[in-house]
């Protein structure tokens, strides 16, 4: 067993144990799930330690052709003997670590708030963890699609079963159908690629070429799938809906990891596989990103639901990421990866904060809250810190990411960079205004007259976020070092 397969199967091992624990021992179930995911996190840290920074090749290779396929590639379909090919490079390393980092927190956050179907809840999250790690490490196009879609099932269940309100069914539906509609086109594209090249092995595909018109069609098909996940502007409707209805842990995973699937897809498939089409469509991406940044930032200003505010600001930040990716230079791409990681820390932290408020007062409407600074000082401190990170104050992780993205974009197209910078100003506007309304102001005792600052569990849940945000913000070198080779290989490959 190599390291990568250990990480892949460890959560499933936890699921296996959980299956034999009786339903009513909820505390034991939670403990087992938490320990499993924590151990997975530790093993994934080992992955980073053993990671070789000086090469752009895929590392920790693992294949499971396991079952005898007795060479059935006679005519017809040769994907009978599936090649389960796993491996990671600098790009996927941090997404895996981010996944394993967030899952224990998801289990921790629902320690007291989830009381129904606890076992199923833990199983859903552990399965989800396994699937997500598989998505980020699989090196086969068709299997990527398979895992990419499989993520939908546990997520659908999480939103549908443990969601908070009446509209949760509708939200789960929207989430499912939007994503599926986008990704079936990717399936067609993958089949077309397979039909043309006879393989879905990513490393072989990196070496193959397509005609220009075909590249354009394939790129569009992939774009349809990834744009829904990012989300780009015309298809972003599902996101605020899903966030608002999902339980806190669901929002954390949604904002932290699932949105990154889209941009990871762009980075892993669209850009290196179809370099011509990438150049061809760069203006489209720029336009959509700028539209999304400005439009969603303005939308954020007039939201009254706390979760919707964070959800819309997520859309804006993810579109900064696409902007950086398609600047197609080292700074831009590294910046956008860093921004993805940082967004994967900041917005889950904010969702956790809102979850804390929701657990106490059972509402997410902003008008009921005011003056938290006086009643919940520790909470207010953390909330202000995360908001500052969200508007990318220097010293926090987002700043490094956004700065690099701007450097990259500016080299490519200064006008776009200027337009994107207005998004930062608007970001500061809604961030500060949110803080102003929530943390300061006069307490409204006729709405809420019982307060409780964050508990020890909640504090230890949020502290890792503070530490890692500051770490990336002040000393991002270890991250950039691991990224550097893979990214420069990606760029030199495409150009």
């Amino acid at each position: 067993m190599s390291l990568i397969s250990t990480i892949l199967f460890f959560p499933l091992f936890g699921v296996l144990i959980l299956l034999f624990v009786p339903n009513w021992k909820t505390q034991l179930i939670r403990r087992i799930a938490l320990n499993t995911s924590l151990l997975t996190f530790l093993i994934s840290l080992l992955l980073w330690i053993e990671f070789d920074n000086s090469t752009a090749r895929f590392q920790f290779f693992e294949t499971f052709s396991g079952l005898p396929s007795n060479g059935t590639s006679i005519g017809g379909f040769s994907f009978s003997g599936f090649n389960f090919l796993f491996g990671i490079d600098g790009i996927s390393l941090f997404f895996i670590i981010l996944t394993t980092f967030l899952i224990p927190i998801c289990i921790l956050v629902s320690w007291t708030s989830i009381q129904t179907y606890v076992k199923e809840y833990c199983i859903a999250f552990l399965v989800l963890e396994s699937l997500l790690i598989a998505v980020f490490s699989v090196l086969d196009l068709l299997l990527f699609y398979v895992f990419f879609e499989s993520v939908l099932i546990p997520m659908f269940i999480i939103i549908g079963v443990w969601g908070s309100r009446e509209r949760k069914i509708r939200a789960a539906y929207q989430f499912f159908l939007y994503t599926l509609l986008g990704s079936v086109f990717m399936l067609l594209a993958i089949l077309l690629i397979y039909f043309q090249t006879g393989t879905t092995d990513l490393e072989i595909l990196y070496c193959s070429n397509w005609s220009e018109t075909r590249q354009i069609f394939l790129w569009l098909a992939f774009f349809a799938s990834f744009a829904v996940k990012v989300p780009m502007v015309p298809v972003h409707i599902w996101l605020p809906e899903a966030h608002v209805e999902a339980p806190t842990a669901g929002s954390v995973i949604l904002a932290g990891i699932l949105l990154k699937l889209g941009t990871y897809g762009f980075l892993r498939f669209s850009i290196p596989l179809f370099p011509f089409a990438t150049f061809y469509f760069t203006p489209l991406i720029y336009t959509l990103s700028i539209l999304a940044i400005v439009y969603t930032s303005l939308t954020t200003l007039r939201q009254i639901d706390l979760k919707k505010i964070i959800a819309y600001s997520s859309v804006a930040h993810m579109n900064f990421v696409t902007l950086g990716l398609f600047s197609l230079n080292t700074q831009g791409i590294e910046g956008s990866i860093l921004l993805m990681v940082s967004h994967g820390l900041v917005s889950p932290a904010l969702f956790l904060c809102i979850g804390i408020l929701y657990d106490r007062h059972k509402t997410r409407l902003l008008r009921y809250y005011a003056g938290c600074g006086r009643t919940m000082p520790l909470f207010a401190l953390l909330f202000v810190f995360f908001t500052m990170a969200n508007i990318s104050l220097p010293g926090t992780s987002s700043f490094i990411g956004e700065f690099l993205v701007f450097v990259g974009t500016y080299q490519n197209n200064s006008f776009i960079a200027m337009l994107a910078a207005t998004g930062m100003v608007l970001g500061a506007a809604y961030g500060l205004w949110l803080c102003n309304r929530l943390v300061y102001g006069v307490i409204k005792p006729h709405f809420i007259n019982e307060w409780c600052d964050i508990t020890r569990r909640e504090f230890w849940m949020l502290l890792p976020f503070v530490i890692s945000i500051l770490w990336i913000g002040i000393y991002p070198e270890p991250f950039l070092d691991a990224l550097h080779c893979s990214v420069s290989n990606l760029i030199s490959h495409g150009m």
Binding site: T72, V146, E149, G160, V161, L177, L181, V184, F185
Partner: protein, 377 residues
């Protein structure tokens, strides 16, 4: 049925088909006390007889112009003719007409659009085990024999029959997925969803290549497994209401709270539904993927695109069943009794197939590939 599949002559084909249909009419009207059932039987009889007539007319046209009823001899005639059977070129359009009649008869029997009208009524009216039988067995048999006829005898007429099959397949996919959206009765919903599945099968047929036929066969096998699971669940969900046992599910709202009363069964049902909708790790996805692959490789891009869109649409109503099962409260409280052992074993086998097909699809691939090769050669 077995006669039907192994027939190599139009006469034996017709006789086997008629004998089979006769049994089906009786089966459909099995429940003599029920108005629905007798109505189903009568409808099935009228339309079945009509379509058999069309089929027979096609056979006689071909016989009239070629003097041959054997499939392989017919194939030899069309591929250039031998010394003793030389057909004049004027006879070819007539043979083509005969082929079209055959095709219409075939589409009637497998409930493809635009000859699908009878199927929801008949499937709904017939007793549930009979419906399960109708959905699965005759389709497999008919596909088997018609693959032989069109792959072997009429391969030279591929252009006309491919067009007809394509139109029918697209129409079936679209109608199957749209019409099922507004159904409230489970069997009717399944009837429409099976029309959709027939559309996918026909798309594989219409490719007319080895890949297409192989994809069709794989799809057929997976389809059979999924439908068996579906009906095993519907038949086993015995419901207690006011102290009396209500033997079957009728409306889709009856499924509500199945998740609470019988979680294992609900989970099985969910997996089957996701598989039918074609969500990746399950067998249904792979069968659909092979089909789209076959369609793409024979340049039927439109079919592939419409096919995936329809599969998204059909997801909607499959997931609605999941939603009802897990999230909705029933109108009146009821408890499910234990499912019979035979059903449990059936469910276990089929569910195992659906879940773990992805890990070892090789045997099925090999078999279907060999069948497809022999059909095309």
């Amino acid at each position: 049925m077995l006669f039907l599949v192994s027939s190599a002559d139009f006469i034996s084909l017709y006789l086997a088909l008629e004998a089979q249909s006769l049994c089906f009419y009786v089966l459909a009207a099995l429940k003599r006390n029920s108005e629905f059932s007798t109505e189903a039987g009568l409808k099935y009889f009228l339309l079945g007889a009509f379509s058999s007539g069309l089929l027979l007319f096609g056979c006689s046209l071909i016989y009239g112009f070629t003097g041959v009823t054997n499939f392989s001899e017919l194939a030899r005639i069309f591929t250039g003719g031998t010394q003793e059977f030389l057909v004049s070129t004027t006879a070819l359009p007539a043979c083509e007409l005969g082929m079209v009649f055959l095709l219409v008869g075939f589409l009637f029997k497998i409930t493809a659009v635009p000859f699908h009208m009878w199927s929801p009524d008949v499937y709904e009216g017939a007793p549930t085990p009979v419906t399960a039988f109708f959905l699965i067995v005759p389709k497999a048999a008919l596909f088997g024999v018609f693959l032989r006829i069109f792959g072997e005898s009429f391969y030279d007429f591929i252009l006309p029959w491919q067009k007809i099959l394509l139109v029918s397949s697209l129409a079936s996919m679209i109608l199957g997925s749209i019409a099922a959206l507004s159904q409230t009765r489970i069997k009717r919903l399944l009837a429409y969803s099976s029309i959709g599945h027939v559309g996918y099968l026909l798309a594989g047929f219409a490719c007319g290549t080895i890949e297409g036929i192989q994809a069709l066969l794989i799809y057929l096998v997976v389809y059979i497994f999924m439908n068996i699971t579906m009906f095993a669940i519907i038949l086993s969900a015995l419901r207690r209401e006011h102290l009396q046992v209500v033997p079957r599910l009728k409306y889709i709202t009856d499924l509500a709270f199945l998740a609470k009363t019988n979680p294992v069964l609900a989970l099985t049902f969910t997996v089957t539904l996701f598989s039918m909708a074609g969500i990746p790790p399950l067998a249904g996805f792979y069968s659909k993927a092979y089909l789209f692959f076959a369609a793409l490789s024979s340049n039927l891009y439109l079919v592939a695109v419409i096919g995936v869109l329809c599969s998204v649409l059909s997801c909607f109503y499959y997931i609605r069943l999941v939603k009802i099962m897990y999230f909705e409260a029933p109108k009146n409280w009821c408890s499910f009794s234990r499912i019979p052992v035979e059903n449990a074993i059936t469910l276990a086998i089929t569910l195992f197939f659906i879940l773990f097909f992805m890990f070892y699809p090789t045997p099925l691939h090999l078999i279907t590939h060999k069948i497809a090769l022999t059909l095309c050669l």
